[in-house]
C-alpha cells in the first residue's frame, strides 16, 4: 500500500486499498435460478431484497476484514500499539461496515453467513500458528533443565501475553464497543468478567479459542512438570527449606522475592489461559512434594530425642504457612472459592501427620531402643496411630525391622532381651491395651524361646544388683540384661490375677476387648513388664530353670541377707502363683537356716579357733522327704596353710550350707580328698549338727564352696579368698607330709624353692581327677606360688627372686586357669552332664517302655519320658535318639525304620 493510494482513498470512497474490488459492484450476484424458473426471473421475484443485502454485506465484509486483518510478520518485539494505528486508519467507511456487520442489518444469519467474530478468531489463531507459535515452541522442544524452569515459564508467559495483547487490541477497540453491553439480569450478581452480555460473551469466546491455541502449542506433559517444579521450588524458598543436600539456607529477602515472583508468574499464566485445571493439578503435585520436603527437612533431622512431640509445630506450620500459601495460589489461579473449607484443611493436617508418622515409623526401631529419650517422637507416633491403617502399617514395618535387624544369629541374647524390654515399654505407651505389643512381640518371643541361654540370662539379670551394674561393674559382661535388672529395681506393683475374665458381672469398669485384638487377647490389669518376660515359657519349664540358677546363685551369693533372691522369689510368686515355687522357697530357707546353724555350731568352736579362715560347706537334710534322710552337704575346705610351717593346729573355721537334696537341682560332685584338718572339722561339724538336728545326717559336697588361705612363705605371706576347694587341696598337698623331711626347715633358709610334687603324685594323694589337678596347678603358677620345675613337676616358690620370677609363664598360666575356671564355673550341673549322669536310668526307662509297650516312635518316647520321669526330663527327641543309638550299639534295641524303635529280640 503506497502513500498515493492512501491519499486517494481518503478522498474517494474506495472499498479496498490493496485488494480487488469485491465482485458485487461489477457483477451483481443474481443468485441461482430455482429449478423450473427462468434465468433471471428471480431478480425481480419475492426475494428481491436478498441479493441487495448480500451485495451490501459482501462489501462491508470485505472492508471490515481488510481493516481487521492482522499484520503479517512476527511482531513479538514491536509494540503492539504502533502497528495498526498508523497503517489502518479507522475510516468512517470501515466504521460503517463494522457496525453494519455486527449490529446493523448485516448481522449474520445463523448457520448460513459468516460471523465476523469467528473470522477474527480464525485470523488470530492462524496468525499465532504462523508467526508466534514457532517462537514459543523453540523453548519447549527439549527437556527443560530445572534451573531453566523459571525462565522458560516466564518467557513463555511473556510471549503469549504479547501475542494475546496484539490480538486483543483490534477486538477491544473495534469490535467489542459495538456490541451490546446490556448485562442479563440473572447474571448481575456475578463478578464483572462472568456476567453474561453480548460483549462479554464475545470476548470470552475469543479468549477461550485463543487460549486453546496457546495450550496446544505447548507440550502439556512437560509444561505441567515444569510448572509443578517451579511451584515446588517457590514453596521451598518461601518456607526456607534447604534444597537437596546442599543445605543452603535461603536468605530472608529471597523468600519474599520468591513469593512475589511466583505470584506474578501464576497470574500471568492464568491470563494467557495456562492456569485452570492443568495448573491446579501441577500445583497439587507440587504441594504434595513440598509437604514431604518440609517434613523431611524439619522433623527428621538429628534431633530425634526431643521430649516433646513435634506435632504441634507441624500443625502450626500447616495452619499458618502452608494453607495460606495454597490460598494465595488459588487466588492467583482464580479458583473459586479461594479459601479452603474445614474438611480440606483437616485433610491437609491428616496428610501431614500421616507423612510424618510414616517417616517416623521407619525409625521406630531406634526410638524404641532408646525409649527414655524418645518420648517426643513416641507422642507423635501415638497421634499418628489414630489415622486409618496406621496401626497396620506400623506393626508391619516394625516387624520387618525386627526380624531383619534383631532376630539374627548376630544379636546376643542379652541384646535382644534388652531391646525386648524397651519394645514392651514403647508399645505399652503407644497402645496401652497391649494389642499392638502382642502383635509385634510374638516373633520376638518365639525367637527368644529358641535360644538356650534366654532363661539363664533373664534370671541372672533379675538377681543382679542393678545399682552395681550402673556403676559399670558388669557393663557389657554379656550375660546380664541391664534393662531387666533395672526393671527389677522398681517397686512391685500390686498385681492381681484377673481370674474372672469378663465373668465378673459386678465390674462396672468392664470394657470389651479392642476390635483389632487377636482372638487369644487377654485384657491386662495394669502392665507388668516383668510378666511379659516371665511368660516367655511354660511356667514349669521356667521354674525348673529358675531352680537351677537360683541354686547356683544361692551357693555363691555374698549377701548374707539374700535380699535380691528373696525379692525375686516374691516377685515371681505374685506373678506365677506360689504353688510351683515350693522348691525354690525351700532352697532359700535352707541357706538362711544354714547361717543360723553355723553360728549355733560355731559358738563352742569359736573359743578354740579364731575365725580367720572361712570355709563354707553345705550339707542338707531334706525335711519332707519320706525316704531315709540323705542330706547333701557340699563341703569346701579352708585350711590356713603355711607351706613351710607344718603347724599342727591351724586357725580355721568351717561354715556350711545345709541344703535339702530333694529340692535342689543336681549339684556338682567331683571326688577328691580335702586336707585332713578340714576333714576333722567336718566330722566335728557333723557331730554337732547331729546334736542340734537330731538324726539328720550330713553328706559333704567337697566340690562346692570356697575357701580362704594364707600362705606363709619364706619371704612373704599371701592371702587368698574365694578359692575353689580343689585349689585349696592342691596347694595344701605341698605341705610336707609326716615323715617327709622338709629340707628347708632348719638350715635351708637360702633355698628359693620348696617342696616339689608332680601331677601323678598329686592325683594319687588327693584322689583327684587329673583335669582338676592341672587346673589348680595352673592357678597357683599364675599366682606365682608354684613353678613348673620340670615337665609336670611343680615346686613352691619360697622366695620370689628375679631369677625364678617367670612373669610370662605366670601370666600364661593365669590365663589358662581363668579359661578353665570359666568352663568349670557352674556349681549346678550342665544339661550335658545331667544327661550323661542319668543315662543309665534313662536307658532303663527306654528299654522298659519298649519292652512293655512294643515299638514306639522317638517322639512318643520323648513325650512319655517327660511325663514319667520324676523330677522332669529336660531333654527332647534329639537326646532320646542319642540314647537309643547307644542302646542299639549295645544290642538292646533296634531301629525299625522311620523313627520307630523296638526291643531287639
Amino acid at each position: 500500500m503506497d502513500y498515493n493510494d492512501r491519499v486517494f482513498a481518503s478522498v474517494f470512497s474506495v472499498p479496498s486499498v490493496s485488494h480487488t474490488t469485491p465482485t458485487p459492484i461489477a457483477t451483481p450476484d443474481l443468485g441461482n435460478a430455482e429449478p423450473g424458473e427462468s434465468f433471471g426471473g428471480g431478480l425481480f421475484g419475492g426475494n428481491l431484497g436478498n441479493p441487495q443485502r448480500k451485495v451490501k454485506r459482501n462489501l462491508a465484509w470485505s472492508t471490515a476484514t481488510r481493516f481487521l486483518s492482522l499484520p503479517k510478520g512476527n511482531h513479538a518485539d514491536t509494540d503492539p500499539s504502533n502497528v495498526e494505528n498508523e497503517e489502518r486508519p479507522n475510516t468512517a467507511e470501515v466504521q460503517d461496515a463494522l457496525e453494519y456487520l455486527l449490529v446493523g442489518d448485516g448481522k449474520p444469519e445463523i448457520f448460513t453467513e459468516d460471523n465476523l467474530l469467528d473470522w477474527f478468531i480464525d485470523e488470530a489463531q492462524l496468525h499465532f500458528a504462523t508467526f508466534a507459535r514457532s517462537e514459543v515452541e523453540q523453548w519447549w522442544n527439549e527437556e527443560i533443565p530445572l534451573e531453566a524452569a523459571w525462565d522458560t515459564l516466564e518467557t513463555t508467559q511473556r510471549l503469549l501475553q504479547h501475542a494475546q495483547n496484539v490480538y486483543l487490541r483490534p477486538l477491544a477497540e473495534h469490535i467489542l464497543p459495538l456490541l451490546n453491553d446490556t448485562v442479563e439480569p440473572e447474571s448481575r450478581t456475578l463478578p464483572p468478567e462472568y456476567r453474561v452480555s453480548e460483549r462479554n460473551n464475545a470476548s470470552r469466546r475469543f479468549l477461550s479459542a485463543l487460549h486453546g491455541a496457546f495450550v496446544h502449542s505447548l507440550p502439556s506433559q512437560r509444561f505441567s512438570k515444569t510448572l509443578s517444579y517451579v511451584l515446588y521450588d517457590a514453596g521451598l524458598k518461601v518456607f526456607r527449606i534447604p534444597k537437596g543436600k546442599k543445605n543452603k539456607v535461603v536468605a530472608n529477602s529471597a523468600h519474599e522475592g520468591s513469593r512475589r515472583r511466583m505470584q506474578d508468574l501464576l497470574q500471568g499464566l492464568d491470563r494467557v489461559g495456562l492456569g485452570g485445571d492443568k495448573a491446579q493439578k501441577s500445583f497439587a503435585h507440587a504441594m504434595d512434594k513440598l509437604l514431604d520436603a518440609f517434613i523431611n527437612s524439619h522433623y527428621l533431622r538429628v534431633d530425634w530425642h526431643g521430649k516433646e512431640s513435634e506435632l504441634e509445630s507441624l500443625r502450626m506450620w500447616i495452619s499458618k504457612a502452608f494453607i495460606p500459601l495454597i490460598e494465595l495460589v488459588n487466588t492467583c489461579l482464580r479458583c473459586h472459592p479461594t479459601s479452603l473449607s474445614a474438611p480440606e484443611i483437616q485433610h491437609w493436617h491428616d496428610a501431614a501427620l500421616g507423612r510424618l508418622g510414616r517417616a517416623k515409623v521407619e525409625y521406630l526401631f531406634e526410638y524404641a531402643s532408646d525409649y527414655h529419650t524418645s518420648r517426643g517422637v513416641l507422642k507423635t507416633i501415638k497421634e499418628y496411630m489414630k489415622l486409618p491403617n496406621a496401626k497396620q502399617y506400623l506393626t508391619t514395618r516394625f516387624s520387618e525391622h525386627v526380624s531383619r535387624r534383631l532376630l539374627s544369629p548376630g544379636a546376643t541374647t542379652t541384646y535382644i532381651l534388652d531391646l525386648y524390654m524397651c519394645f514392651i515399654r514403647t508399645f505399652l505407651y503407644l497402645d496401652p491395651k497391649g494389642v499392638l505389643l502382642e502383635r509385634v512381640a510374638r516373633p520376638i518371643r518365639r525367637y527368644l524361646k529358641e535360644r538356650e541361654d534366654t532363661a539363664r540370662i533373664i534370671i541372672t539379670s533379675m538377681l543382679a544388683d542393678a545399682a552395681a551394674e550402673n556403676n559399670g561393674k558388669f557393663s557389657s559382661a554379656g550375660d546380664l540384661s541391664v534393662e531387666i535388672a533395672t526393671e527389677m529395681q522398681r517397686p512391685i506393683t500390686s498385681f492381681e490375677h484377673d481370674v474372672s475374665q469378663g465373668l465378673d458381672w459386678d465390674n462396672m469398669n468392664w470394657q470389651p476387648s479392642p476390635t483389632d485384638a487377636a482372638p487369644d487377647y487377654k485384657q491386662q490389669k495394669g502392665h507388668d513388664i516383668i510378666l511379659f518376660v516371665l511368660t516367655l515359657w511354660e511356667r514349669d519349664d521356667f521354674i525348673n530353670e529358675l531352680k537351677n540358677i537360683l541354686g547356683d546363685h544361692l551357693l555363691r551369693s555374698q549377701d548374707p541377707e539374700y535380699a535380691n533372691e528373696i525379692r525375686l522369689l516374691e516377685l515371681i510368686k505374685v506373678r506365677l502363683g506360689d504353688d510351683k515355687l515350693q522348691a525354690c522357697e525351700v532352697m532359700l530357707r535352707d541357706v538362711l537356716e544354714s547361717k543360723r546353724i553355723n553360728s549355733a555350731i560355731r559358738a563352742p568352736i569359736a573359743q578354740m579357733r579364731t575365725p580367720d579362715n572361712r570355709a563354707l560347706q553345705a550339707p542338707g537334710g531334706p525335711p519332707r522327704t519320706p525316704q531315709p534322710r540323705q542330706p547333701v552337704a557340699s563341703i569346701p575346705s579352708v585350711p590356713g596353710l603355711g607351706t613351710p610351717l607344718p603347724k599342727s593346729s591351724v586357725d580355721m573355721t568351717l561354715n556350711a550350707h545345709i541344703i535339702s537334696s530333694f529340692f535342689w537341682p543336681s549339684l556338682r560332685d567331683d571326688h577328691f580328698l580335702i586336707p585332713a584338718e578340714v576333714q576333722n572339722m567336718q566330722r566335728d561339724y557333723e557331730s554337732r549338727f547331729t546334736h542340734i538336728k537330731g538324726r539328720q545326717k550330713l553328706q559333704w559336697k567337697n566340690a562346692l564352696g570356697d575357701g580362704s588361705v594364707a600362705l606363709e612363705l619364706d619371704d612373704r605371706t599371701e592371702q587368698f579368698d574365694g578359692l575353689m576347694p580343689w585349689q585349696v587341696s592342691v596347694i595344701y598337698a605341698f605341705q610336707p607330709q609326716p615323715g617327709e623331711e622338709w629340707v628347708g626347715k632348719g638350715k635351708g633358709k637360702g633355698k628359693e624353692l620348696g617342696i616339689s610334687r608332680n601331677v601323678e603324685q598329686l592325683e594319687e594323694m588327693l584322689e583327684m581327677d587329673e583335669q582338676l589337678v592341672r587346673q589348680a596347678l595352673a592357678f597357683w603358677v599364675g599366682k606365682q606360688i608354684l613353678r613348673e620345675m620340670d615337665h609336670d613337676t611343680f615346686a613352691v616358690i619360697e622366695r620370689l627372686t628375679s631369677a625364678n620370677m617367670d612373669t610370662e609363664a605366670a601370666a600364661a598360666a593365669q590365663e589358662l586357669a581363668e579359661v578353665q575356671a570359666q568352663a568349670q564355673a557352674g556349681s549346678v550341673k550342665s544339661q550335658h552332664d545331667l544327661l550323661q549322669e542319668k543315662k543309665d536310668v534313662y536307658m532303663t526307662f527306654i528299654t522298659s517302655m519298649l519292652t512293655n509297650q512294643g515299638n514306639l516312635p522317638v517322639q512318643r518316647i520323648a513325650m512319655m519320658m517327660k511325663i514319667m520321669v520324676a523330677g522332669g526330663f529336660p531333654f527332647g527327641p534329639e537326646e532320646v535318639t542319642i540314647l537309643l543309638e547307644e542302646l542299639e550299639n549295645e544290642g538292646k534295641v533296634i531301629g525299625i525304620g522311620g523313627d520307630i524303635w523296638g526291643i531287639k529280640k
Binding site: V841, T844, T847, S848, M849, N852, M864, V869
Partner: protein
C-alpha cells in the same frame, strides 16, 4: 457334696499317680533283671509288665506279659494283676487270673509293683498246689514234670503272636 466328693477322688488319683511315679523311678534306678514294668499311657494307673520265667523251672526261657491296674485307693488296695500271655500254671486260670495271697488278703501298703512282680516270678517256680485254680496242673506238677513242661510250652505264646 458332689463337688467335694469329686475333689477328694481327684486328690486321690493324684496321690496314686505320685506314688506310682515314685515306684517307677525306683524300678528304673534299681532295675531287677528279668522283670520290667511300665505305664501304658500318661495316666499311670494301668501298667504293662514283663517277667522272664526263672531258670531251672519249666518256665525258663519264656517271657510273660502281664497287665496291672491300680485303683484310686492304691496302695491301700492291691492292684489287679492278670497274665496276658497264656500260661499253664496251677495258680493261674485260663483267662490269666492269678490266685496269690499277697494280691488278695495279704496285700500291704508297703508292697510295690516290683515286689508284686518278684512274687509272681517266684510263684512260677514254686506254685501253691494246695489251692489250685488249675487242678490238672497242680496234679501234674507233682506227678509228671515232663508232661507238665510240654503243656507249659504248648500253651505259651510269644508276645508277637499275642499282639496279632
Amino acid at each position: 457334696m458332689a463337688l467335694s466328693a469329686g475333689t477328694r477322688s481327684n486328690g486321690g488319683s493324684a496321690n496314686v499317680a505320685q506314688r506310682l511315679q515314685k515306684e517307677l523311678m525306683d524300678i528304673m534306678t534299681h532295675p531287677t533283671p528279668g522283670i520290667s514294668a511300665f505305664p501304658v499311657d500318661e495316666n499311670m494307673t494301668s501298667w504293662a509288665a514283663t517277667i522272664d520265667g526263672p531258670a531251672d523251672t519249666p518256665y525258663a526261657g519264656l517271657t510273660f506279659k502281664l497287665s496291672m491296674e491300680f485303683a484310686t485307693t492304691y496302695p491301700y488296695t492291691a492292684p489287679t494283676v492278670l497274665f496276658k500271655t497264656p500260661i499253664y500254671h496251677p495258680n493261674v486260670d485260663f483267662s490269666g487270673r492269678i490266685c496269690l495271697d499277697i494280691l488278695k488278703e495279704k496285700w500291704a501298703a508297703t508292697m510295690s509293683v516290683s515286689s508284686v512282680l518278684l512274687s509272681l516270678q517266684s510263684l512260677l517256680g514254686e506254685p501253691n498246689n494246695s489251692s489250685p485254680l488249675n487242678g490238672q496242673a497242680a496234679e501234674l506238677w507233682d506227678k509228671d514234670m515232663v508232661e507238665y513242661k510240654r503243656l507249659v510250652i504248648a500253651r505259651h505264646k510269644n508276645p508277637e503272636e499275642l499282639e496279632t
